[in-house]
Subunit: 166 residues, 2 copies
DNA sequence: CCTGACTCTAACGTTAACGTAAGAGTCTGA
DNA sequence: TCAGACTCTTACGTTAACGTTAGAGTCAGG
């Protein structure tokens, strides 16, 4: 089965939709932002994309996962255009990625810490299973029963116990 | 130095602002959403918070880092109210966190993959430093010079090389 | 008791990333 | 050639998470 619906080997927006999982609106939107551009148009005005566009759309997707906003990506692309020579442009790209690598590592560290906290909280809460079922919720505040082996409630648990909820 | 500005031991919104780094508007907003509530008010109508509120605000902050939206948090809190008995409520909390733990781990895996890709791309781009500086950018497409030891450009790099940019 | 700092409510504004609908024109295969 | 599927532009709508006035009232110290 072929990827394209026209002879030209070019993709109409519907093809791209199928190949990327994006909606037409999203692709239009990317174009509005200057992230994308059809190679040409049919006489009727239908957009025709080259296959590289597929790479481009996936690239955008990855960058979004990395936490880039579309305006940021756009920003980078336009700044890239300003460099006519490859090595210089590639240096820019490298810098761009280097910054993001650092951020990604920071995010990873944060998430790992949160992962530990979640696990701690879940462990702590498991102690509650051995508690008398009819214990009223209010009595959980500062619980120091044997069920938790003397452990204090982790922050993620303690904050749930209060009068701060409407 | 004391944390509070009133004798009551209660915190006015300004105190909470200093202690949490949030803005008054944010705290008002949390209250609108039902995430927060002052313990009482002054006769003039000023909000007075207990110290637990500090925990609560930080808790919200952490949950946000974990990718919870405020409506989600609100949702959880109200569902928690429906359980009068501690152990049952705590079970709910545990479930809530268990789901999020799985998501967090998935996110971690994704980010780790992206981290590798970034590193790969940076490594690949380092090869460009030994390229003739005046090479035009267009010639980078499908570059197969010795500079990259025969490696093909990683996706994060390849997608930048095309005619898809306006 | 008065002033300067603080707080209140109400309501409109903002950014990101699209969604949705409308009305009209285009393409293509039977 | 013509119906059904696809696409076009325009433009208003949406959710999240606050920001930003605006105008008025409140508190605390000198």
């Amino acid at each position: 089965m072929n990827t394209t619906s026209c002879e030209s080997g070019l993709l109409k927006i519907g093809d791209l939709v199928r190949l990327t999982g994006k909606t037409p609106r999203t692709l239009h939107f990317y174009e509005e932002l200057g992230l994308l551009r059809p190679v040409s148009r049919t006489k009727g005005g239908f957009r025709l994309y080259g296959e590289e566009t597929l790479l481009r759309v996936r690239w955008i997707e990855r960058l979004q996962e990395l936490g880039f906003s579309l305006p940021e990506i756009q920003d980078f692309l336009t700044r890239l255009q300003e460099h006519a020579y490859g090595p210089e442009a590639m240096q820019r790209l490298g810098d761009f990625y280097t910054v993001k690598l650092a951020e990604t590592r920071a995010t990873l560290a944060r998430l790992q810490a949160l992962e530990r906290d979640l696990q701690d909280s879940i462990d702590y809460l498991n102690g509650c299973r051995t508690c008398e079922p009819l214990t009223h919720r209010a009595r959980c505040v500062g619980c120091d029963t044997k069920h938790h082996e003397g452990r204090a409630a982790p922050e993620l648990v303690a904050a749930v116990h209060d009068s701060t909820t409407p």
